[in-house]
Amino acid sequence: MSPLQTLFPNIDWPEIAQACLDTLLMLGGSLLFTLVLGLPLGVWLFLTARGQLHAKPKLYGVLSLVVNVLRSVPFIILMILLIPVTQAITGVSIGIRGAIVPLVIGAAPFFARLVETALREVDRGVIEASQAMGATTGQIVTRVLLPESRPGLIAATTVTAVALVGYTAMGGIVGAGGLGALAYQYGYNGYKPDYMLVTVALLVVLVQILQSIGDRLVGRYSRR
């Protein structure tokens, strides 16, 4: 017997590998769509807030409320509530594809808030200087706000990715697969503690990797 088998007698390693792959697919897919939806939403929140470039306090109030509601529903509940929506969009309500819709709807508002906060950190004077040079709002967003807040946006992406790792683990409970599902299935229900240990360790490693990539990128783009 190999040392791995002596240490973890219950574990089916190919199954673990498959679960890792599933988690990474869910994470990659949901992170991509979260960024694609959350970034414009965050910019929109920023621009419409009181005193900003396109202040529309009422619209901002509505956007803000929607974001807060989505952020305050526990993810596991959101997942169950969204089953019909998921079915309509992807045709399935379980599995990796089925998990991505609730993951994105749960994470995009969270990410949008972080984007809004990062944009608020941009020096007002710089925005004003761009206006004084005759920049359009679109140019200010793409050439001033986003580049100037790049470290903040990268940090926001890291935090969101880490949160999504947690969500994907929860997604496992409603049959999305992945490491979380394994931990739940064998570790909790089937009482095989070595499964729990290995899956949790792998999740910790994943979070560590994400965080250190994020930190390194923030360092690379910080110019202050």
Binding site: A132, M133, E148
Partner: protein, 334 residues
């Protein structure tokens, strides 16, 4: 030429309109360096920002080169702004871009220029402000004076006819201030552009401005040629600014132990360096005590301002002789 016609500005604060600038009538001629001086909160920035419409007047109008721009919108407004450069107290550079990219920023905004043209223009501008060696640095790697030079290069990139300076030297030390002011004066001479400069220091006005307006609580309380305003301030606020520049705050004309009438003599131009007082003393036999004074330059023109106590039998002859030499005399109340 920039003209304010009864232009005013009020800000909405907690639902109420609070006036920051009362109706102002002011004309700034093409090619001059015009100073606006006032204490913090006097409305200087507000007045300056009416020119490029970062603020819209609440009432009244703003004309640039005879054209009413008060309601300019959209592409028209952006074109107008491209023709007006602006520099700021805190420089407001893009921290994520290099010096060269900061200067290129306005050139890329308006399109129609290829990379080679832009690169050549950036080189030319960095040369002008003496930063050619720093093109690849980021703003965080520069000193305050260097950052302001980048700001100036960026403001000049689109070849504006007007340059607005909002407390451009207030964050700089005295030496750096002097070199930035020299650069501004040089730019004004060489490129002939109109400079509107706001400051809370009379010394800045004295060194570079042709004319000045004094702003106090949203009112223009005094305006005119710098030499006139500086040597003969009429409004109390102006007097305080001039006194600050002379480092004689609060002392006024209080000279204990000195008897006889006090006079303030203002020399301008060539008269400043002539041996006038010694010839007057020789001719009329009056005596004088020099109590305070300063000999310096207003922009390029030498001036002197001396406060004297004078007495003697032929005092009136002495005063007449001084006046005849083109020197202003004011009797100072004590």
């Amino acid at each position: 030429m920039i003209r304010f016609a009864a232009a005013s500005k009020s800000y909405a604060v907690d639902g109420a309109l609070v006036p920051a600038l009362h109706p102002v009538d002011l004309t700034i001629e093409a090619g001059e360096v015009f100073g606006i001086i006032g204490h913090s909160g006097a409305g200087k920035s507000t007045l300056l920002r009416l020119i490029n419409l970062l603020e819209r007047p609440t009432s009244g109008k703003v004309f640039i080169d005879g054209r009413d721009v008060t309601d300019a919108q959209g592409a028209d407004l952006r074109r107008l702004r491209a023709g007006i450069g602006m520099i700021f107290q805190h420089f407001n550079l893009l921290s994520s871009r290099t010096v060269a990219d900061n200067v290129a920023f306005p050139l890329r905004l308006h399109g129609g220029k290829d990379d080679a043209t832009i690169a050549a223009r950036v080189d030319e501008l960095l040369e002008l402000v003496g930063l050619a060696a720093h093109a690849r640095k980021y703003p965080a790697q520069l000193s305050g004076g260097q950052k302001q030079r980048v700001g100036i290069a960026r403001a000049l990139a689109s070849r504006p006819s007007i340059l607005l300076c909002d407390e451009a030297t207030s964050a700089l030390d005295p030496q750096t201030t002097a070199s930035v002011l020299e650069l501004l004066a040089d730019i004004n001479r060489r490129l002939g552009l109109t400079i509107v400069l706001i400051t809370h220091e009379m010394d800045v006005v004295r060194r570079v401005c042709d004319r000045v307006a004094v702003l106090d609580a949203g009112h223009v309380v005094e305006q005119g040629a710098v030499a006139d305003v500086f040597l003969h301030p009429r409004h109390a606020t102006t007097r305080r600014f001039v006194a600050e520049a002379d480092h004689r705050e609060g002392r006024g004309a209080d000279f204990p132990g000195v008897s006889g009438p006090l006079f303030r003599l203002s020399f301008r131009g060539d008269a400043t360096y002539s041996p006038l007082l010694s010839s007057v003393v020789r001719d009329t036999g009056v005596e004088y005590n020099l109590l305070s004074g300063r000999v310096d330059r207003i922009k390029d023109v030498p001036y002197g301002q001396l406060t004297l106590a004078m007495h003697g039998e032929r005092l009136d002859d002495a005063l007449a002789q001084i006046r005849a030499a083109g020197v202003d005399i004011e009797e100072v109340a004590r």
